[in-house]
């Protein structure tokens, strides 16, 4: 089976982080599906998905560090990319949506 022989300092925080990450990502995407307007829908993925991605990436970092018996920090790169680029994408999309809704209102 897959995760046999992982030490206890990986499995306990890993379980908590995986539960939190899965639920946060689910709530973020549910907000994307259910909220009424675009400007409300913006909040779900940009907060829930980023936090859930952080949780799951830390859990993956713990598992691969325990598997290779040395600290593995590759997942920090992914966290850094997401933490840098998610606000940039959100701001650009928000500005585009604002401009497009103004253009619709003007016509």
């Amino acid at each position: 089976m897959s995760a046999n022989g992982l030490p206890l300092w990986v499995t306990i925080p890993g379980t908590l982080l995986l539960l939190a990450g899965g639920l946060l990502t689910l709530v973020g995407s549910l907000g994307l599906l259910r909220l009424p307007t675009f400007f409300a829908r913006m909040h779900g993925p940009s907060m829930g998905n980023t936090l859930g991605a952080g949780c799951i990436l830390i859990a993956s970092m713990l598992v691969s560090s325990a598997l290779l018996h040395r600290p593995i920090l590759h997942e920090l790169l992914i966290t850094l990319f997401i933490a840098i680029t998610a606000p940039v994408t959100a701001v650009l999309l928000m500005r585009a949506a604002l401009q497009r809704s103004k253009a619709v209102a003007r016509d």
Binding site: S2, I12, N49, T89, L93, Q99
Partner: protein, 96 residues
């Protein structure tokens, strides 16, 4: 020890289920979104969900190859989302 390993396995299973549902929700919004910005936002959420489920697959199979694939997906997905948002904003991606 082995009890905690079983609990960890079921936590991975639970997180995979949550991510599959989240990807399904993002896909419904992608197909149904009333305007273009909704679809771009849904695509942004969708590639993050795919990247995370690939990481969980790597944790399940005790392999470290999946991390590099996830890094590439994060990199190209962010470039694609910024390009689409810029196109919606200005009508061109790279301005002369």
């Amino acid at each position: 020890m082995s009890v905690m390993n079983a609990v960890f396995d079921s936590a991975i299973w639970f997180a995979q289920l949550c991510l599959a549902l989240a990807a399904l929700f993002a896909m419904i919004r992608l197909l149904r979104g009333p305007r273009a910005q909704d679809r771009v936002l849904a695509l942004d959420a969708f590639y993050i969900n795919g990247m995370l489920s690939l990481l969980l697959l790597g944790m399940r199979s005790s392999s470290t190859v999946y991390v590099d694939i996830s890094l590439l997906i994060a990199l190209f997905g962010c470039v694609g989302s910024v390009a689409l948002a810029k196109f919606l904003l200005r009508g061109e991606v790279i301005e002369p």
